[in-house]
Structures are given as C-alpha cells and as structure tokens.
Symmetry: C2
Subunit: 187 residues, 2 copies
C-alpha cells in the first residue's frame, strides 16, 4: 500500500483503477473501506509533481510571464513553472523552465518552499525555487500551444500583485509569497 | 462559445465531450483548432468553484483545522473551505463551511481575494473570505469521510506557517497570506 497514513487509520483499498488517462492528465479511482464509515469511492488526479521558479535579476526585478490559459479563458500573470514528467531532479526542471519560458539562466538556485496544489482532488506537490542572478541570455523555446510574454516587474509590485489577486494564478502567487523572505534577505 | 478570449485568438472548438464524471469530479475534453497550430486536444477538470474562509476570533486567534487528505495521504493544516456545488452565493457557502467544519459563527464576513487553483488543469476559481468575530458556539457537523480537528492558532504563527510550508495545503496558505493585510488592519 502506497498510503501509510490511510493504513494507520484502518482504511483499506478494495479496488483501484484508472478510469481516464492521456499524456497530461490521469485519474485514479479507489474503492475504499474505513472503520465506522463503510465503503466509499475516491477519485482524484494523479500528477508527477511540479516546480515553480521565482526568477530575480540583479537589478531587483522579478521575471514574471503572462500566458493564455484555456481552462479559465484568461491571460494570467505567473512565474515560470512545469511538471516533473519523467525527471526526478526538481532543480533540473526549474532550470529548464527558466530557460524555455523566460529565455534566462541563473547564477544560483535554491528551494524555498513546497505545497500541495489541491489536496482533496489531486496528489500534486509543487516545489518553489528562488533563482538569483537571472539573465535573459538566450531565446525562449516554447512548446505549442504556449505563447508567453516576459514581464519584468519590480519586486515590491510583484509581491503586492500576489497579495491582491492580480497574479490570478494561485500557485504563482503563493510561490512569490513563500519566496518573499529570501527575496528580501538579498542574495 | 463560452470562452471569449479563445475566440479572440481565433481558436475553434471542433468537438467537446465529458470523458469522465462523478458527483465530485468532471472532466471536459475539447478538440481545438488554432491559427498556425493545427488541431490539438485539451482536457481539464471542470469545477463549480470554491470558497476559503480565514476565521479570526476577537482574541486574535485564527481557527485553523487539521484533516486527513487521502490523495496526498497526509494530515493537513488548512482553513475551512468548500465547493459551490449548487449554490450561487459564495458568502452563503463560506458561512456554511465555517459552521459545519469549525462549529463557529461570525460577526462579519468579507471577501478579500480570488484566485485560480491550477489554471492549466482546472477551471476552479477560489474566493477568499475573512470572517471576523468568530465564536465556536455550536457543534461541528461533518460529512463522511471528514474528520476535522480545530486548531486555534495565534495570528503571527499562522501567517508564518503559511509562508514556510507548515500549512501544507497551498490554497489555505494563499488564503491566509491574501487576508494578511486585512487581518493586520484590525476589524
């Protein structure tokens, strides 16, 4: 069993299946039995995990990006991010997304946080990286259907936008606020 | 067409279907055609939207909750929250979740934020409410399979835990940080 806390609670998996799967999304559906609760189903999205990168230049700007997101039909302000698909080292994915989505490299990369995206519907865990000394020294390399504009934003304005909802993407807003202390600490 | 921004980009929905649906989760799958990009599929979770409530007592504590989350197999520190299933007024859902999950009522409720949970995989929008003057004046009313412990937490400690990842649930952490300014402003 891959869920030790569930086992401690006496939950048993009676049946497990994958009712839907494509290269981007995979549903897992379990039939569970729990003490005093009988049998019930639980279906959720299985996800390999993701990384979010907060890129700071030496002049003090954050390199945010703006991109169109089909599910919510909006252009959203975000930080560069990507999934762990087939890669086990989160720092490698962080550098790759910074390179591809922003066209930037960094002098230093460190993890500053970690959170679950939506713990009742998905198992996705996101790791937050702070990238210091970023320089836009190469062209973006975008996959279809990405179209991404880089928006250099002063630190204080970016943090304010994370707090007031102008960074509409919640994962990006939280990444910025989890990085706040390290960002202010210099580096 | 329910996606005006997509239409502005010249995207066309060639086909739309629901490959999976149960009472808690619904997948929508579209076949799209976009200028210069040809045809491609997009599958995402359709969600009625949710509310998150940051409950503050007059003594200055926040009423957090701890609950077991099966997809991530962890006991997570969170704020009370729930989905809009069948209800159009977010404030009504906020008061209901505060009552059911914490056993509390509040003197004042106001919206302090709004964000997309995971804009590439879901259309869920979460509204963040600040509940002031909260009192635990009734029993919790929990639905199976919820088991929820209320954890009264001093304001500064709760905000610190949101920033450093001890509030493992990202939606709750962001709700706390979006409410920070209003929380400090008193009320």
């Amino acid at each position: 069993m891959d869920k030790p806390e569930a086992a401690k609670l006496g939950w048993k998996v009676l049946e497990s299946g994958v009712p839907y799967e494509n290269p981007w999304i995979r549903l897992r559906s379990d039939r569970l039995k729990a003490p005093g609760r009988g049998e019930f189903p639980y279906t959720y999205v299985q996800h390999p995990g993701g990384v979010l990168v907060v890129p700071r230049t030496d002049s003090g700007d954050l390199l945010l990006i703006r991109q169109y997101r089909y599910p919510v039909d909006q252009w959203c302000l975000e930080v560069p991010a990507g999934g762990m698909h087939g890669e086990s080292d989160a720092a490698v994915v962080a550098r790759k997304e910074l390179r591809e989505e922003v066209g930037a490299s960094c002098r230093e990369l460190r993890q500053v946080g970690r959170f679950f995206v939506s713990n009742s519907l998905m198992d996705e865990v996101c790791r937050v990286f702070l990238a210091l000394g970023c320089r836009r020294d190469q062209p973006q390399r975008l996959e279809v259907p990405e179209f991404i504009e880089v928006v250099a934003t002063p630190l204080e304005e970016a943090l304010e936008m994370a707090r007031d909802g102008r960074v509409q993407d919640g994962k990006s807003a939280l990444a910025l606020l989890m990085a706040e202390k390290a960002l202010r600490g210099g580096g």
